[in-house]
Symmetry: C2
Subunit: 148 residues, 2 copies
């Protein structure tokens, strides 16, 4: 299938809202930064709103973060838009009458869960604030290279 960019795009939206705080923040403007359609942005923002990461007002282009960027981790965003699904996919239809087919799901499932948790723990240690600050540092470095 097409691979989901919801996680990346959601972090983008949140960083954008924080960085361009005082400006008009229509879904169209945000979409032009992500290079996608306004509807995709509004759909993602709907999910972020349901998960208490942003607050929006219908008809008004003024989305705001519900919490400080320090208090939003990448894991919060990931769980909001991707949910707690498998990261590595088990084949869930294997022959239960075979020694391998009848036991491999449980065995692999445990290893997959372990690997997934190792990755998600990393995301739980990165805040939106970290992302925003790093973006701003990269931007200054970029501008420095251009001027020298």
């Amino acid at each position: 299938m097409r691979v989901s960019t919801r996680f990346s795009d959601s972090i983008h939206i949140l960083a954008f809202i924080d960085i361009y705080d005082q400006k008009k923040l229509s879904s169209e403007i945000i979409a032009s930064s992500i290079e996608t359609s306004p509807v995709v942005v509004r759909r993602l923002m709907g999910v972020l709103r349901e998960n208490n990461l942003i607050a929006t007002k219908k008809g008004t282009a003024e989305p705001r973060l519900s919490k400080s960027p320090k208090d939003i981790t990448l894991l919060d965003v990931y769980l909001a838009v991707e949910g707690d699904k498998q990261l590595f996919t088990l084949d869930t239809s294997t022959n239960p009458d075979c020694i391998v087919g009848g036991n491999i799901q449980k065995v692999l499932g445990a290893y997959y869960e372990d690997a997934k948790m190792a990755a998600l723990r990393k995301f739980n240690n990165i805040s939106l604030q970290d992302v925003i600050e790093t973006i701003l540092v990269e931007q200054k470095a970029k501008e420095h290279r251009i001027n020298n």
Copy 2:
């Protein structure tokens, strides 16, 4: 998209080959354990062969592991069939003229790589032997429950 079960199915194939070592091991028999088609099995076995994990002989139903199960890690299998692709997907088309769009790929890319490595390190610490032994233990436990 449809989610790939190549990783799970490949481990299944390797465990099956090792456990049913002396028996006839046609792609049809293996496929019936995975509950898929023989062609899917042969395709995966082709990839496993290219990556030196198994040896096969055209026309003969006798695939064999190329190495001891102790010396095959889940990471070896993962890289063989999924490659070293992104685990978390960056949106690679963002507006380069925006502070966020112009820097987020690099910033998120680094965090994603970090999380991916945390997961893959786990897989590098699990051998096919671990998987096989755990399957056999689960099977004995299952039989014990049935007989008591």
